[in-house]
């Protein structure tokens, strides 16, 4: 068995060279007790399958080698053997039983969300994740980071190898403490998504109108990555998950910093900004949240996503423009009222009205945005 495994791994390495050392052939045992239990179960059933395979394929190969007409074999005539048939019906039952028992144990463990230390609500959006800490009110969105986002556009001819953690990096990771049992509640705002970090051992669907739950308890601090696993529309492939597991002390520091930042956002929203500030911030927000559909050059996509450049909305009435961004429109344009702060919306609307040659000269302040909410 060991040899076979080595052989398979060896063949893999021989074919692909050492250039990319982090490719993997198998599940990762992961970083939690639950993920290791799932991994062990996986290996257990894999080896059972390998053993059955060796038996069945062995018989076939032997038969193909020896029971050929070209060797002058005279065919036998048997076509029944009740004893044999009963045996090979019963033995699989016993094997299945031997698989069902550990499977049941692990499933019960996976479902035990009781006695958790904290709870994070995870909401799937097209195409980003929102993390709400139910214990302390921290609440933020997590989207594909700007470098990956730029490199993944069609026709950019990027070199993904040069982008660190291409497609597996976000602007703001989920942060949780090590050694604590964290319960997650999953739901979605638009369509079904699925939250999956392979190293935690499971995925769970996030379904609009429903709440599902799951839990993890990560032992060691570290960065763990994953992706949305349920087809959720155009950018399904571009909504990664990054979890930054910190030691308890670091986690507490992070929580304090978040609270201070939230405080600052409130004061920021009351300020007035210059055109240059809004345009710079607006471009950043546009590229992260809008360019996926309306394209970085503002030209949109024929028949699917309208252009911003010269658009009736972006060059027309300001309040209509604000409403489209804050409340969304139709099936495809998301409502950004929740996911972007008033400052960000003010900036991006200013950017859209003045960039791409629209040159309206409008300056939108956060207070204008709050007024439309």
């Amino acid at each position: 068995m060991k040899k076979l495994k080595l052989l398979i791994t060896g063949l893999g390495i021989a074919t692909f060279g050492e250039a990319n050392a982090d490719y993997a052939l198998n599940l990762s045992p992961g970083v939690t007790q639950l993920s290791r239990d799932i991994y062990d179960l996986h290996m257990y059933i894999l080896w059972i399958c390998v053993a059955i395979g060796v038996g069945v394929y062995g018989m076939m190969v032997y038969s193909i080698m020896h029971h050929r007409k070209s060797k002058g074999v005279v065919p036998a005539h048997f076509h029944e053997n009740t004893k044999l048939e009963v045996i090979w019906t019963i033995i699989p039952f016993v094997i299945l039983l031997a698989m069902a028992i550990p499977a049941t144990k692990v499933m019960i463990e996976a479902y035990d969300t009781s006695a958790s230390d904290m709870t994070v609500k995870v909401t799937g959006y097209q195409w980003k994740w929102r993390y709400t800490y139910l214990d302390n009110g921290i609440d933020f969105f997590s989207t594909l980071d700007a470098k990956s986002n730029e490199a993944r556009q069609l026709g950019v001819r990027s070199n993904p190898e040069a982008v660190p953690n291409y497609l597996l990096e976000v602007d703001k990771p989920l942060v949780i403490p090590a050694g604590k049992k964290v319960r997650f509640l999953f739901t979605a705002a638009d369509v079904i998504h699925s939250w999956w970090v392979p190293k935690f051992g499971w995925k769970k669907d996030a379904i609009p109108g429903y709440v599902t739950d799951a839990w993890t308890k990560v032992e060691q601090p570290g960065i763990y990555r994953g992706q949305c696993a349920e087809l959720c529309g155009r950018d399904h492939g571009f909504m990664p998950i990054v979890v930054d597991v910190k030691s308890e002390a670091d986690y507490n520091k992070w929580v304090e910093a978040q609270k201070a930042q939230a405080q600052k956002a409130v004061t920021d929203a009351a300020k007035t900004y210059s055109m240059a500030e809004l345009m710079a911030k607006g471009e950043e927000v546009y590229n992260a949240s809008c360019a996926g559909c309306h394209m970085a050059n503002g030209e949109g996509m024929q028949g699917m996503f309208p252009a911003i450049k010269g658009s009736a909305v972006a060059t027309g009435d300001l309040n209509t423009h604000l409403d489209v961004v804050v409340k969304g429109k139709g099936q495809m344009m998301p409502a950004f009222g929740d996911s972007l702060s008033p400052v960000e919306i003010a900036a991006v609307v200013t950017y859209q009205r003045n960039g791409f040659g629209n040159n309206k000269g409008d300056l939108v302040q956060p207070s204008d945005v709050s007024a439309r909410n």
């Binding site: 070209s70 999953f186 999956w196 087809l231």
Partner: protein, 541 residues
């Protein structure tokens, strides 16, 4: 049947066939295109189904190549993600409903009457209908590609709410499903009525060729589940256009309800594609092993149990939706049980080969590859049935590898095997054995290069249905894409072999394969068979 009666039969049949010609010359095929439009002849309709399936196989295959081209390396090179999603959706719908299912209906039309000694299908006019619906359905589906917002892009499973975001295509896609459902149900009724009422005297149920048995069970699955699917998509339609909220939680509905309905159809659907394959393989292996099928009755019972179990395991596609623990465990145990009858089938095939005197013509090569590679898919299926492990496997390339192993070197190889096996009977000409073997070896090697690495990708963490991926998945994706292109182009050889055999070639004998007449009535008929066969029922001993 004993040897002696066989000889008699062959002579008897010859006589019938000729006698028939003299008396009913006007019953030959009509001339020209109208022959195909108005035909009620089971052989013509079989041919129509098979040709359609082959065309759809090439169309669906071309879409797969678009997908694999985009996935050849990381980064977005050729298509927009939205178009990519349209390709995955259409590829699956076309392969399932356009290629695999119609191809097996084509086999059924050609072979069932010839195998059971019936002059035609029981309901020949309905038979014409059930075929001619298909081309219109597929033209309608294809037309969505040119609509505003493009073709359906929510995956072949059409899950709401995502599918409801679709634009103009939605009603067209749904009506396509309705038409396909009507066609399948009519086809299924026809098969059941034919087999139950038109068997030659003496052909008792437990003497039916296994291909016929598997089709009867498949037909019952079709009649049971197609209406459920039609109902589910109709609910999508009313949710989208008539203000209902079946699947909308905000209106008191449940998006997961759709998944339950879909998979109540979808799981039996995968058996609809594989049971007739089991029938084909159970027909071919005994011929080339020159030995009767091992465990005929256990094959029948195993097929029936798989058919039954397929109705009660659907939610194993939904282990991650947050079912209650008891539900997870029930569906785990029930799904694991399918491995038992499936195992019995595999053991029986191996036992049929055991101590036979095998030869390895192209049909047998494909049949052997089927047993080996389908079993691989069975193993991964068993692994996925274990719900806690499936929390990792679900919605990854591991799943993609699993179902392609059961569908490509499974169902599609069974179709190749059956085509090579019966082509000389259908056309009266031997196919080109050299090219057939070339097709086999290219297909078998490339299908593994194509799908085996996908197991690794899934386990390493690559989700399915994504147009671009992180760089650590690059090597296996590249390998898979290379396999895909070789596999795709190898199929042109198959098309050529078929065309060549239709146009001419070495004359096939009636028996075609050594000793085949002991394995089925069809081999006692001339090659090619006359337009009408078994106008007088054969005697079965």
């Amino acid at each position: 049947m004993t040897e002696a009666t066989h000889e008699e039969h062959a002579i008897h049949d010859e006589h019938i066939a000729h006698g028939h010609h003299d008396e009913h010359d006007h019953h030959g095929p009509a001339k020209g295109f109208m022959r195909w439009v108005f035909t009620t002849n089971h052989k013509d309709i079989g041919t129509l189904y098979l040709v359609t399936a082959l065309i759809m196989f090439m169309v669906g295959g071309a879409m797969a190549l678009v997908i694999r081209a985009e996935l050849f390396e990381p980064g977005m090179q050729y298509v927009d993600p939205n178009f990519f999603n349209q390709m995955t959706t259409l590829h699956a719908l076309i392969m399932v409903f356009g290629a695999v299912m119609p191809a097996f209906v084509g086999f059924a039309n050609w072979m069932i009457p010839m195998m059971i000694g019936a002059p035609d299908m029981a309901l020949p006019r309905m038979n014409n209908w059930s075929f001619w619906i298909l081309p219109f359905a597929f033209v309608m589906l294809a037309s969505t590609l040119f609509m505003d917002g493009g073709a359906p892009a929510a995956g072949w499973t059409l899950y709401p709410p995502l599918v409801l975001q679709g634009g103009a295509h939605l009603p067209f896609a749904i009506f396509t499903v309705h038409l396909l459902g009507m066609s399948s149900i009519m086809g299924a009724i026809n098969i059941i009525v034919t087999v139950f009422n038109m068997r030659a005297p003496g052909m008792t149920l437990m003497k039916l060729p296994l291909f016929v048995w598997t089709w009867v069970i498949t037909a019952f699955l079709l009649i049971t589940v197609m209406p459920v699917f039609a109902g589910a998509v109709t609910m999508l339609l009313t949710d989208k256009f008539f203000g209902t909220s079946f699947f909308n939680a905000a209106g008191g509905g449940d998006p997961v309800l759709y998944q339950h309905l879909f998979w109540f159809f979808g799981h039996p659907e995968v058996y609809i594609m594989i049971l007739p394959s089991f029938g084909v393989i159970s027909t071919i292996i005994p011929t080339f092993a020159r030995k009767p099928l091992f465990g005929y009755s256990s094959m029948v019972y195993a097929t029936a149990s798989i058919g039954f179990l397929s109705f009660i395991v659907w939610a194993h596609h939904q282990y991650t939706v947050g079912m209650p623990l008891a539900g997870e465990l029930y569906f785990t145990y029930a799904t694991m049980l399918i491995a038992v009858p499936t195992g019995v089938k595999v053991f029986n095939w191996v036992a049929t080969m055991w101590k036979g005197a095998m030869t390895f013509e192209t049909p047998m090569l494909f049949a052997i590859a089927f047993v080996v590679l389908f079993t691989m898919g069975g193993f991964t299926g068993l692994m996925m049935s274990i719900s806690p492990a499936d929390l990792q496997y679900h919605d990854t390339y591991f799943i993609v590898a699993h179902f392609h192993y059961v569908l490509v070197p499974g169902a599609v190889f069974a179709l190749f095997a059956g085509t090579y096996y019966w082509l000389p009977k259908w056309t009266g000409h031997m196919y080109d054995e050299k090219l057939g073997k070339l097709h086999f070896w290219l297909s078998t090697v490339s299908v593994n290069v194509l799908f085996f690495p996908q197991h690794f990708l899934g386990l390493a963490g690559m989700p399915r249905r994504i147009p671009d991926y992180a760089v650590q998945f690059a090597e296996f994706n590249a390998m898979s894409s290379v396999g895909a292109f070789i596999f795709g182009f190898a199929q042109l050889i198959f098309v050529w072999v078929v065309i060549k055999a239709i146009r001419g070639g070495e004359k096939a004998t009636d028996e075609v394969w050594e000793g085949a007449s002991e394995h089925g009535l069809e081999w006692t008929l001339p090659s090619p068979p006359p337009y009408h066969t078994w106008t007088t029922a054969p005697d079965i001993k």
